[in-house]
C-alpha cells in the first residue's frame, strides 16, 4: 500500500517538476562556424524549449528552424548534413548539481559538464554558461564547443569553401523557475 502511495505521489509530482522551469520571451539558439580565411557562418533559430525534471535540465533545440541567411544553404544544412527529418532536435542535458545558480540580483558564470545529443549521437561536453538572476527569472547564455565529425555529420563543403569541423553551439533564453 505504501509503495502505491509513493508511486502515486511521484506520478502526481512529475508534471509539477516538469513545469518547474519554463522559458519566457524569445529564446535564441544557434551555431557559429568558420571556413577558410575570414569566412564565417552563423545559424540561428528562435525555437527552444526546456524540460526540467528537477535533476537534469534538458535544453531542446528543434533544428528544422535553423537559418543561416541563405535559404539554399539552409536546405543543404537540413537535408544533407543535419538530416533533420531523422534527427529533428539537438538536446543538451545539464545536471542541476553542476550549475551554480546565483542569488537574487547576482550573476554566476562557470563551466559545467553536460551531454549533447545531435544527429543521433551523444557525447559529453563542457558548457560555458552565464546566468543573471532577477527574482525567479534567470537570463541564461551558454556555449558549447563541438566537433561535428564526432556526431557523424559530414564536413560541409560547397564550391570551394569547406567549413571547419569545430563549431560553437550557443543558446540564450530567459527562464522562470518556481
Amino acid at each position: 500500500m505504501r509503495r502505491h502511495v509513493t508511486l502515486v505521489t511521484v506520478l502526481l509530482a512529475l508534471p509539477l517538476l516538469a513545469a518547474a522551469t519554463r522559458v519566457t520571451g524569445e529564446p535564441t539558439a544557434g551555431f557559429h562556424g568558420r571556413g577558410p580565411g575570414g569566412f564565417s557562418l552563423e545559424g540561428t533559430t528562435h525555437q527552444l524549449r526546456i524540460e526540467d525534471d528537477g535533476t537534469v535540465l534538458k535544453i531542446v533545440v528543434p533544428l528544422g528552424g535553423l537559418q543561416t541567411g541563405i535559404s539554399l544553404r539552409d536546405r543543404h544544412m537540413r537535408e544533407k548534413y543535419l538530416e533533420v527529418e531523422k534527427y529533428p532536435d539537438a538536446v543538451l542535458e545539464l545536471p542541476w548539481s553542476a550549475v551554480k545558480l546565483p542569488e537574487d540580483g547576482r550573476t554566476s558564470e562557470g563551466t559545467a559538464p553536460g551531454k549533447m545529443s545531435l544527429h543521433g549521437q551523444s557525447h559529453d561536453v563542457q558548457v560555458k554558461y552565464r546566468i543573471a538572476r532577477t527574482g525567479n527569472r534567470y537570463q541564461v547564455t551558454g556555449t558549447v564547443p563541438l566537433n561535428i565529425t564526432n556526431y557523424g555529420i559530414d564536413v560541409p563543403s560547397y564550391f570551394g569553401i569547406t567549413v571547419q569541423p569545430d563549431v560553437e553551439a550557443s543558446a540564450s533564453f530567459t527562464a522562470e523557475r518556481a
Binding site: 571556413g35 577558410p36 575570414g38 569566412f39 557562418l41 541567411g69 541563405i70 535559404s71 564550391f159 569553401i161
Partner: protein, 408 residues
Amino acid sequence: MSLRRGSSHGRALWPLALVLVLALPVARAHAYPWMIRHGYTNCSGCHVDPSGFGLLTEYGRAQAQVVLPTLWGKAPEEVEPTTGIVYGAVPLPSWLNVGLSLRGAVLSTTTSQGTKWRDILMIADLRAGVTAGPFLASASIGYVPTGATLAALTNSQRDNLVSREHWLGVRVVNQKLYFLGGRMNLPFGLRNVEHTSFVRSATRTDTNSAQQYGGQVVWDGPGLRAGLMGIAGNFLLDDSAYREQGYSGYVEGAFSNAFTLGLSSLVTHADRGLGSIANPFVLDPFSGAADDWRQAHGLFSRWHVGGPWVLLAEADLLVQSASGVPRDWGGTGFLQADYQPLQGLHFIFTGEGLHQNQVTSYGAWFSISWFFFTYAEVRLDTIFTEFGLPGGGHEPSFSVLGQLHFSM
C-alpha cells in the same frame, strides 16, 4: 592636362568591344558591401581579391545565382547554381576563375548651363584569375571609349585598352594571410560601386581607375580583416612626376555578422599633384603643384540593421599640401541605406558631403538597382548635387544615370 600620349588608333579597338558584347553573359565585376545582409562580413569567400571587388571565386559565382537576382517565383532553396561561365555552358576547373563584365549607361546631367546627354560604356572587361592552393592571381583587360585613363594601357584620347588590375599573390595560414603584388585597388574604406561618390573620388580610391602598383599584406581573419598596401605608383602614367608613392590601408572589425566598423588611412606623395575630379566646378590648386602630399583618414561601417535594411557609412578627413599652396583641410562623408523589399530589387538612398579646397558640396542619390535575372542588372540613379563654388554659392546639378549591366 593630359598625362597620356595622344594617338588615333583607338577605332581599331571596336572589334574587341564587339567580341566582348558577343561573349555575353559576362562576369560580375563589382563588390556589394550590402552583402552583409547575408552575414558576409568578409569578401574573400566570393572574390579573388580578399578585400572585395572584381573577379568572383567559384563560391562567389554560385552565390551570385542564389542570393543576388530576382528568382521569379522560384524558391531560393530550389536554385541549383552552376559555376561554369555562360550560364554553366562552359565549365571551369575550380582553380580557374574567368568572367566578363559589361556595363553600359546613359547619363543626363542638368546644370544652370543646360542639359547634356552622354552614352557611356563604363566597363567592358575580361577578367581571369587563379586560386590554386596558396597561389592566386588576377588580371583584367578591357575597352573603354572614354575615361578610365589612369588604367589605360594605350594612349589614345579615346578608345583605350584598360587593365584595372593585374596582380599575383600567395596566401598562407589557412588563407588568412595574403601577400599580393601588382596593380590593385587601394585598400581603403567602403568598396562601393558608386565610383563618383565623394568618398571615392576625393580620396581617389575608386575601383574605376584609381588602382596603383605596389605590394599589399592582407589579414583576412574571423572577426578582423585588414590590408596595408605600399604604393609604388601608377606606372600606367607616362609622366613619373605624377605617380604617387605612399601607403593605403584599413582595418575592419566585425562585431557580429551584421555589424562592422573600420578605420582607413592613406598618405601619398607625388612630385606633381594630380587634379581632383570630385568637384568639377573648382580649379584644383594642387593640380600640377610641386611636392604634393595627400592624406585621407577615416572610419567606415557596414550594418545589417535587420530585415531588408542595410546601412553603409564612411567619413574621411582630407588633408593636402604642396609647395606654394596653403595646406587644405577638408572632409567627406557618405551615408547609404539599401532597402531590398524582394530579392534582387534594391532601393538605395544616399546622402553625401564634401569639403575640399575651401568649398562645400553635398548631394543626395536615389537609386533603384534591379538584378532582374541571373547575371543581369538594370539600375537607375537620380543624383542631385549642390557643388560648392569658389567665393561662395553653389552650382546645382541633377543627373539621371541609367545603366544596364551584364555579368557573371
